[in-house]
């Protein structure tokens, strides 16, 4: 990595003028020259964090670095702090580090290049946003970004993909991919750089009456190469699972980055829930011919989908909640590739293990202890058994709650000991689905489908978070064999944690707690080896990288996010001083 000289003022002004003319503001104090060709991104060096999950092809969030290990982690100290400023909705971001340069984002869609050794800002890019869209969107936040072939790729909350020059932050191309002025939903930021010819990303969507989409783009210019419609457009088998034209407003989308299964030439995505979030058809909902907003199974919403990299065509799918009556969309949760299997922790509280080539489920087991929506998945019949179908207008206890048994904060797999570490959320909700025609006393979104002049959130139900029967709301970190589900150890948290997890070759597991602590555990038994109070919650990424010959641990800190707010609402006495905030805090041994 090479940091160039400080840019002359006159040139800096020129850059700013050009960028402003393009509808953005770029501030540059120095140049960055990280090597980010397609080969480096695909074969991520041990020193780097090349993708949202570190590597594009595994989804493990495992760092092969071991300078920081069990014997010295007690000496870990803060090295630098970078505050990106925008606080609303907290900090969900997983930054990337390529060749000594950190690339990070902040809400709604600002991009930062930072010297990963010192925390000094190299350049920043503040896109001029459609504030009307951003201010009314459920998704006015970012989870990260992507890098490849010298470009930084940012999906914006108002539906654009923007490619920046990794060197100086200048705009290389800026393409409106989703008509967010109409659809409201845009992008959460991070996609997946597959190769010099392909970049894949899904749009947000489940809360809105739209057609959800996943895109294959040309990373050279933003041209759309293919589109996969998550509610079935062009697929007769899928359309048969929707009553009438409800698929046109069926939501879905896909709001977390894919993992790439190069062996089978496919991208593994999760799709969002169908829209509206809840329907009044009760135990008749799977019949596409009954009277309802969206009768039928609603393929391919709330599903894992494997898409051919060349065409975007569906190779296989698995639906994690047919006719989803709970908002258990499948976008949350990493898609890990372990040997010839895809492993996915679902919002539905289950772990799903698939044959990566065929999609055949080989094991589906409950990870959440208190779920009550099904008695389980039958591998022989291919059906979820004894599903709970809440009746419209009747208050029903549903576990897990809307925010899931697993949330979108990914876990980590350590190939050295074969253990998968994951945060599990033990909570329920009192759900009351709106009857036909709506009812103002239970409305959480609009009463009816609203698509003009733009889509309104359509979530016709009331849900109140509550504790599992006989217990309080709580969380676990579990360490287990991801395929068999056998537990090695587990650790209970009275306040549900919501950071990502990180495992390292140093035998460590890192977690960020909701009440402020970054902690390092012994990966073999969960024993606490070190902790530091960051003074705010953790709802984003924890990563490790090497810069200047030194290993760093970095945590995105900042109270916020919808899940964070839900946790706070159940623990107000313990989080009374927490306000929404954002920072990146780096740690090293000296």
């Amino acid at each position: 990595m090479n940091l160039g000289q400080v840019i002359p003022i006159a040139r800096s002004v020129q850059v700013a003028v050009v960028a402003t003319a393009l509808g953005a503001f770029t501030a540059t104090t120095a140049f960055a020259d990280p090597e980010s060709n397609a080969s480096r991104i695909r074969n991520c060096p041990d020193s780097d964090w090349c993708h949202y999950h570190r590597t594009v092809d595994k989804g493990w969030r495992y760092s092969p670095l071991a300078q920081i290990n069990k014997s010295n982690v007690h000496e870990l100290r803060p090295a630098w702090i970078f505050q990106p400023g925008h606080q609303r909705m907290g900090n969900h971001v997983t930054p990337l580090v390529i060749d000594g340069v950190m690339f990070a984002t902040s809400n709604p869609s600002t991009v930062w290049a930072i010297d990963a050794a010192t925390g000094d800002r190299i350049w920043s890019f503040v896109p001029e946003m459609d504030q009307a869209v951003v201010s009314r969107s459920f998704f006015a936040h970012t989870r990260g970004l992507s890098v490849g072939d010298g470009r930084v790729y940012m999906g914006t909350a108002d539906g654009r993909m923007i490619a920046l020059d990794a060197h100086n932050g200048e705009v290389l191309w800026d393409v409106q991919i989703v008509d967010s002025a109409k659809e409201t939903a845009g992008f959460s930021g991070a996609g997946t750089f597959v190769s010099s010819d392909l970049f894949v990303i899904g749009q947000n969507g489940g809360e809105y009456p739209i057609e959800g989409k996943i895109f294959g783009l040309d990373p050279n210019n933003g041209d759309v190469k293919w589109t996969f419609y998550t509610t079935g457009r062009g697929d007769d088998a899928a359309l048969a699972t929707w009553g009438g034209d409800s698929w046109k407003y069926g939501g879905g989308g896909s709001w977390q980055p894919a993992t790439i299964d190069f062996a089978n030439n496919q991208a593994i995505f999760g799709t969002g829930n169908p829209n509206p979030d809840y329907d009044y058809c009760g135990d008749q909902c799977r019949d596409p011919n009954v009277d309802a907003h969206r009768p039928g199974d609603n393929l391919y919403t709330s599903s894992t989908v494997a898409l051919d990299l060349d065409t975007g065509k569906l190779n296989w799918y698995f639906q994690e909640a047919p006719s989803d009556p709970y908002d258990y969309d499948s976008s949350p949760g990493e898609f890990m590739i372990i040997d010839d299997k895809v492993v996915h922790p679902g919002k539905n509280g289950f772990m799903h293990v698939f044959d990566s080539k065929t999609g055949q489920p080989v094991n589906v087991y409950a990870a959440q202890k208190t779920q009550n929506w099904t008695t389980g998945f039958n591998l022989e019949t291919g059906e979820w058994e004894n599903m709970l179908w809440p009746k419209a207008g009747e208050k029903t206890l549903v576990c897990p709650a809307i925010d899931g048994g697993h949330s979108w904060n990914p876990g980590t797999y350590n190939p050295n000991n074969g253990l998968f570490y994951r945060t599990i959320q033990e909570w329920c909700m009192w759900l009351t689905i709106a009857p036909k025609g709506g009812a103002d006393y239970i409305t959480a979104g609009t009463e009816t489908r609203t698509t003009e002049p733009f889509a309104q959130a359509f979530m016709a139900a009331e849900w109140i978070g509550t504790a599992p029967p006989g217990d309080t709301t709580h969380g676990y970190i579990t360490a287990r064999d991801p395929v068999s589900g056998e537990i090695a150890w587990e650790k209970r948290y009275d306040i549900i944690p919501h950071s990502t997890l990180l495992s390292t070759a140093g035998g460590l597991l890192f977690n960020g707690t909701t009440d402020g602590y970054l902690e390092a555990m012994d990966a073999d038994n969960g024993g606490l080896l070190w902790s530091f109070n960051n003074g705010s919650g953790h709802h984003g990424g924890i990563i490790s990288y090497k810069a200047g010959g030194k290993q760093f641990i970095l945590a995105a800190t900042g109270h916020g996010s919808y899940v964070g707010r839900a946790v706070e609402s159940l623990n107000k006495d313990k989080m009374v001083n927490f306000q929404e905030s954002a920072a990146f805090v780096a740690y090293s041994l000296d």
């Binding site: 239970i442 979104g445 009463e447 959130a457």
Partner: protein, 134 residues
């Protein structure tokens, strides 16, 4: 039939502008663009329509009780305690406060509809609410 107070008010305001000098005209336009109190306050028909509109456009953020608690969290304004007076209610609704994630509703809701929503919200007001501007 729903009253159309803004057309009446516009006529009055225009007449006022004609009678005033140029400097005063600007001041009047700034200060008196909207009436100090909601002309539809207490109008049953307007309240009913305002409730319908509220549950279509506002409920997602401000919640079913208008207390600012919704699926989006509990950060939106508690409209039961709206204290800025009716003219500011109209201005904020039309122009938004995008730095606080309040969208602009101009072009979606007309001033009559905003007045109807205001009439509904006035029926929910708690102690401390101020709907009549001074």
């Amino acid at each position: 039939m729903i009253l159309k107070p803004f057309r009446m008010w516009a006529t009055f305001a225009a007449l006022t502008l004609v009678l005033a000098g140029p400097t005063a005209t600007q001041a009047i336009a700034e200060d008196d663009a909207y009436p100090k109190k909601n002309p539809l306050a207490g109008n049953e028909e307007a309240i009913e329509e305002g409730a319908r509109l509220y549950f279509k456009w506002c409920v997602a953020c401000h919640g079913k009780h208008a207390d600012g608690v919704s699926r989006f969290g509990d950060y939106a304004a508690d409209l039961r305690k709206f204290w800025r007076g009716y003219p500011e209610f109209v201005r904020i609704t039309l122009n938004g406060r995008t730095d606080r994630q309040m969208p602009p509703w101009g072009g979606v809701l007309d001033e009559d509809e905003i007045s109807q929503i205001g009439a509904y919200l006035e029926t929910l007001q708690l102690e401390g609410a101020v709907w009549v501007a001074h």
